[in-house]
Symmetry: C2
Subunit: 244 residues, 2 copies
């Protein structure tokens, strides 16, 4: 399984991905699911991937190859808008589908590959997209300023309760890590290290990127404080009167 | 969708079910998913159901018919153990499968029907079972003293963090309702009223049963207190230092 989150704020974008892949519980490995394309002053483009690793890796390889190629229409480095970048990633997914789709089906496997795309291109505001396996995509708006892919449910309630687009970047990063903690507690197939990228609006460079392992001080700190805090809130609420 | 929970404690059993059914968002209705068989001094048996309503209703109707029939082996009212009751419910599911399984498959529908069974029979301790569509089942133990069926993920983290078998009945009822609140916030197809039954060990009668609607004072109270409490805990945790 996988867990990736992208959050769109007035102040920027927070993106995070776990790094556990599994083909059955006896085949677990660590792979980075965050890919960053940065050209300081021009663009920061970050892709998070979920689904069949062979498919998402192939799509990213294609996108990277196209950056070195001659067709400017397919070059995310030359795209003027994030919308155009999302189209190119979708096109890469469709090319992978052309290559692998039929054979996967013959082996009884779904074509399972999705991306979150976040970042900013010079001249635009920061934007956030959710790209589906068919290459189509949606864009985050103020009403729903976040996307999750992979094992999305355990970590969703904290966003539904606490996230708002005006939140400072660091607060949103904290919320994202709490969401990861809830997910990792309830699903063993989501695991550290967590790749975290915080992008500040109009900086047009990667302002903060780090990898949080199991013994990371900040991660163990929020794990403890969030757990103890929930317990305190729980104990403070009066139980129902069962003698009524 | 559906959300049902059963919790097994030293002090007894807490069982709860939502009551929303939907066949598409344009076909939503309210159905009780909790069925109680009580014979004071002898047994309290409670079934919670998830899946295709036609299948779970049919299975319960069979169980009820068999109680009025002559075959004592199929009569849950005459069962000496909860294990035997679980077997009878499983048998009812298999009979429904015999009747409806093939036709459902022809229409492209899965045979989707699961139960949580909790309660106590005179001479035994309280027990809790999770009965699958194939009629097989598992029993809760101290390591995992709860079962969920239906939309299980949103409401699981609070159990993973806070539940333990030594918890008083009323505290567990509070936790179950918090779990319902998280689920209902994140999935519209789970909805009030919530049927709640708290059974006290060795009472051999229904000690507490109530139905909580949207405006129920206790439910709105914990919704507010839990939401505000989470927010407080969140704000108390320092954000990560993004300048590091």
């Amino acid at each position: 399984m996988t867990y990736c989150v992208g959050v769109l704020l007035d102040d920027g974008v927070v993106l995070a991905s776990d790094s556990r892949t599994n083909a059955g519980v006896d085949s677990i490995a660590t792979f980075r699911k965050m890919t960053v394309f940065e050209k300081p002053g021009k663009h920061v483009l970050c892709l998070l991937s979920a689904g069949n690793l062979s498919l998402t890796q192939s799509a990213i390889s294609l996108v990277a190859e196209w950056m070195a190629g001659k067709n400017a229409q397919r070059n995310i480095g030359k795209a003027k808008t994030m919308f155009r970048v999302a189209r190119i990633v979708g096109e890469a997914l469709r090319e992978v589908y052309q290559d692998d789709g039929e054979s996967l089906k013959a082996h009884g496997n779904d074509f399972n590959a999705t991306f979150i795309l976040g970042g900013q291109i010079e001249g635009e505001r920061p934007r956030l997209f959710h790209i589906y396996a068919a290459g189509n995509f949606i864009e985050a708006t103020g009403e729903t300023p976040f996307f999750q892919i992979g094992e999305t449910k355990y970590g969703k309630p904290v966003f539904d309760r606490l996230l708002h687009q005006g939140m400072p970047l660091a607060e949103a990063a904290k919320l994202v890590l709490i969401s990861f903690d809830s997910t990792m507690r309830s699903n063993l197939s989501v695991g550290v290290p967590i790749d975290l990228l915080c992008y500040e609006t109009d900086s047009l460079k990667v302002t903060h990127q780090r990898r949080l392992g199991d013994s990371d001080g900040y991660l163990t700190g929020i794990r403890r404080q969030w757990g103890e805090g929930l317990k305190r809130v729980f104990l403070d609420i009066a139980p129902p009167d069962l003698d009524e």
